[in-house]
Symmetry: C2
Subunit: 409 residues, 2 copies
């Protein structure tokens, strides 16, 4: 008798959904497709030489440690390197405030496992990072999503009468919209969290990828400034970081920075989840942070990405000025486009047939919506391909709008 797995799965699997993006990416793998659908760092920016040298050095000097089991909380020298970068920004961090995770996706997962009960209220941006929704949906929270504007999440619209468990925010060049939370709102949100005793989950993969405008302090920095030496006992910000965008995603190195009491719980949850992240890749990451090759690569990284962002913005301006609007991110990897009258999910198949791809925006909404929107990635393609791809996309959008039934207003 064949095995009927549908009768076997646990009830929480009913909320597990395939990442539409990962599924879409499979359709866009043909080389003739110009894909703005991914979110990959540009291959040519990877610090390959530095990683090669680090690997060789590690495997000749301490292979017995780098290949062996390690502590769940992560390689201590790596946590020290990460801590040093926050200390420089005046957060009184010790290695006890850090747990190394298998990418920041695992950070999201550990947050969900330990903080979300069925029905808990979570405030998110709309749109928001789809990986967070995917990590948390099996815990069946209720998402309250607030549409972002040019200054990010409208924190003044958070309903403080509700028993909010946490607010999830990507403060810098948010995936997918590209917008950033303004300085004023950052202060406001931290103050609200303390006054009304909710937690903030700050997901910050992109801060170093700023191409214009001024660096803004992380929420955890604002909180540390406010609390001073009391941060470890009084803090309410759980901050997620990653090396995937500034070193190499394939190393799968991220971290959670939080008050030590919270970190201890994340470590316990991680023990059950995967014991610990790869020791070897932690050693590699530590080497590049310690010897400065990670940061030495930033100017090149920024130069490449800035040019690509600018190219995409110019091409959009040339090809779609009268037909769509889009964000003008100061950093990150994504531009968010809104094309009135279109259903981008339906448009996707046609676009791929014509060898250009994007991610339909609706995937990034916790509670639906965003039918007229799409996410465009500019990081992983040379400028001439970006221009060509936007031209193709422009034709498709303009044609679809011409064919679309005129909405009565």
């Amino acid at each position: 008798m064949s095995t009927d797995w549908t009768t076997l799965w646990a009830s929480r699997t009913r909320n597990i959904r395939a990442s539409a993006i990962r599924e879409l990416l499979k359709l866009t793998a043909r080389p003739e497709v110009i894909s703005f659908a991914g979110g990959l760092p540009a291959t040519e920016t990877l610090p390959i030489q530095a990683i090669t040298e680090a690997c060789a050095r590690i495997l000749s000097t301490c292979p017995e440690k780098a290949l062996q089991y390690g502590p769940t909380e992560g390689h201590l020298p790596l946590r020290e390197q990460i801590a040093a970068r926050y200390i420089k920004n005046c957060v009184p961090v010790t290695p006890d405030n850090l747990v190394i995770t298998t990418g920041s996706q695992q950070g999201l997962d550990l947050v969900g496992r330990t903080l979300i009960d069925h029905g808990d209220l979570i405030v998110t941006e709309a749109p928001t990072y789809v990986g967070a929704l995917q990590a948390w949906r099996p815990c069946s929270p209720v998402f309250i999503d607030l549409p972002v504007d040019h200054d990010g999440m409208p924190v003044e619209r958070i309903d403080l009468g509700l028993p909010i468990q946490f607010v999830y925010v990507l403060p810098n060049f948010q995936n997918p919209s590209g917008v950033s939370l303004s300085l004023e709102r950052r202060h406001q949100l931290v103050e609200m969290a303390h006054r009304h005793r909710f937690i903030i989950v700050e997901d910050d993969p992109y801060r170093a990828l700023r191409y214009s405008g001024e660096d803004l302090p992380a929420l955890v920095e604002i909180e540390a400034q406010m609390l001073g030496s009391k941060w470890d006992t009084h803090g309410r910000v759980i901050h997620l970081g990653t090396l995937s965008k500034v070193m190499a995603p394939g190393l799968r190195i991220g971290w959670i920075l939080a008050p030590s009491t919270a970190v201890r719980m994340f470590v316990l949850a991680k023990q059950g989840a995967d014991l610990h992240s790869s020791t070897l890749t932690q050693f590699i990451a530590e080497t590049l942070m310690r010897d400065g090759t990670m940061e030495a690569n930033y100017p090149f990284l920024l130069k490449v990405y800035r040019e690509r962002r600018d190219t995409m913005l110019e091409a959009l301006h040339e090809d779609l000025s009268d037909h769509a609007s889009w964000t003008h991110p100061e950093g990150g990897l994504f531009i968010w486009l809104t094309a009135p009258g279109l259903h981008t999910q339906q448009l996707f198949t046609k676009a791929v047939e014509r060898n250009v791809a994007f991610v339909p925006g609706t995937n990034f909404f916790a509670n639906g919506g965003g039918d007229e929107t799409m996410r465009l990635n500019f990081s992983c393609m040379p400028p001439e391909r970006i221009r060509e791809g936007i031209e193709r996309l422009g034709h498709i959008i303009i044609q679809a709008q011409a064919e679309a039934p005129v909405k009565s207003s």
Copy 2:
């Protein structure tokens, strides 16, 4: 106001416990302690040279792939390498039957997330692998634990009147007891699973580490033999594998092998958990499997471990014959010792003071018990240290038994 995390954690965290073993290991880190408490592979058996060469080759030929994001299900050539080894044993495996996990601990976690609802019945061995208990307790199943005998889990004692969700079994040189499931019971268990429609979760990290006796087929092999070409649709065995004991734990490479329908669900769960395991370490593992250096290392590995097992068995025989009994494992990393009249959890502190360590057996029981037992690891210490450690342990046990109140019978 200080943050009261205890009021914030999700209800499932009440079942999260620290791994006593990982906590104990911290106490045993002093170099003068002879520790039988760990479960590490011997550092000197790690294929360091092969890994170094593989790393250099990968980073010179395909760094842009090895350092980039990869598919959630894992690097296809690695899945092909793993599949080939099961095909050789007549399981009709394709890469679609495999998902690469961050160590087999993540395999246990994915099984728990997708298969365990609150109150589900899970049959385990007593004692059993503590990492499985740790992974699954947050899902609050009910464990039915069956005391192992010399032939492993007494499968004939499984209560078939109960709605069992799955049976969890480590068929070879079980951690912690060292016993193996007999061939007869393997057949019996697979037949029971099909007749009574429960799932088997087969956790098999140690099969290659056999120092005596004859290799026995995995449960998934017995099932595949029974089902033939219908295995993918009719199979009920979820099989977990890992390279941690035969290549290097620090790579964090494990896998789940199961019918493709089940694998698809595990892949979805893994997307939310960590997107994918380290690409670089997957490439390394694939290289060592493809070029044969993994298996070429086995004879050396077996020679080292066989000698250590034999040394420990001899030392126990010399020092503790009249005071304790223990298992005689044909492979793996552990010997299980029972010392009547003792409370090994209480004995632990005294032992560490006298510079020898073990894991108190009670940690390995889903529902308590095992107070008189302990787990002894023989893999990560040279023979002379094993002899010295067992001598120390012998004194402590004999002294404690002399001091113990005589039990009325």
